[in-house]
Symmetry: C2
Subunit: 191 residues, 2 copies
């Protein structure tokens, strides 16, 4: 089963397989996976797959070509679609850092066990499988530290920075994780 490149076919069709866009990641089921790709990558594949499934009538303009020509450029993107990799990532960090923000300053040993178990299960269940694999590897190297809110918040911030590094995104100053995720910035712009 190909995972990162190869050909794939939309479920339930007998159309010829669409060529996968460069860099497209397949799900563990061998099919293109929304949660593992950026929206643009998934859309490029989906519109090609549709074209192959329903060959054009003479004079018809394929949806992708119409979009490229600006015909539907003004339509706002729908807000009720499955998230792509980036939206899923943003949503997930929002939840995880907020959990850190309400984690006790002096947790019991039971509370420490619970947050560690939660993070372990989270790393297994995360919908983007290769992101989950990366996170599991990180957690083996840097085991969760959760003896206090500050310790867990910093551990999580460093884990997030590891992902930022991989994606070429800016590194966040972890000394400021509580301002970003708990108190709001000292300049008051979050109030």
């Amino acid at each position: 089963m190909a995972n990162e490149t190869g050909d794939a076919q939309p479920a339930g069709t007998s159309a010829p397989p669409a060529k996968l866009p460069k860099g497209m990641v397949l799900g563990k089921d061998g099919k293109p996976c929304r949660a593992c790709n950026e929206k643009a990558t998934f859309s490029a594949w989906a519109s090609q797959a549709k074209t192959l499934k329903a060959p054009l009538k003479a004079g018809a303009v394929p949806a992708a070509a119409a979009a490229a020509a600006g015909a539907v450029a003004m339509a706002p993107p729908p807000t009720d679609c499955p998230p792509d990799k980036d939206e899923l990532g943003r949503s997930t960090w929002t939840l995880l850092h907020s959990i850190a923000a309400t984690y006790p300053t002096a947790p019991t040993s039971n509370e420490q066990s619970e947050i560690k178990a939660f993070m372990g299960l989270f790393a297994k269940l995360y919908p983007c499988w290769f992101c989950a694999d990366d996170f599991q590897r990180y957690m083996k190297k840097e085991t969760v530290r959760a003896a206090s809110r500050d310790e867990f918040g910093n551990w999580l911030c460093n884990a997030h920075n590891e992902v930022n590094k991989k994606l070429g995104k800016p590194i966040f100053d972890c000394a400021k994780w509580e301002e970003r995720w708990r108190t709001g910035w000292k300049d008051g712009r979050c109030d």
Copy 2:
């Protein structure tokens, strides 16, 4: 310790306590809690607390009054602030439904135990404490069903609808949970 109404004081000040806006929910530490309130409720409290902390000089215009007068109405809201209750809710449902979307169609008994353990820990750790309490109560009444992707997706959809009902939001047709969260809509608008 008051939880839903009462007076509260910003940390580290000796100002008189700010009157809490109607309906404001305090955190378990007795302080106003971003993850438990809408942004507008928190902001109303924060700007009042600031005014009490730094009494106005003659002629000065308080930030809240300036904002109300439209002086800063055009400034886009900052994107790097702790989420309020609604943003946290949206982010969390995005992660949970996406987990359902990649949950196996025929999970092993170990996979079923893991998703149940994850949901149990999630319900304890959710940053909005009264939302977490509600969710825990729901899970006691309607224990997690996860014998298949469809079963778990439907269980989660019903749990989400329970919250929608409480908030007066529209009820979602759970027969369509996979279109919303896994495949995208059949009309192709998500492709």
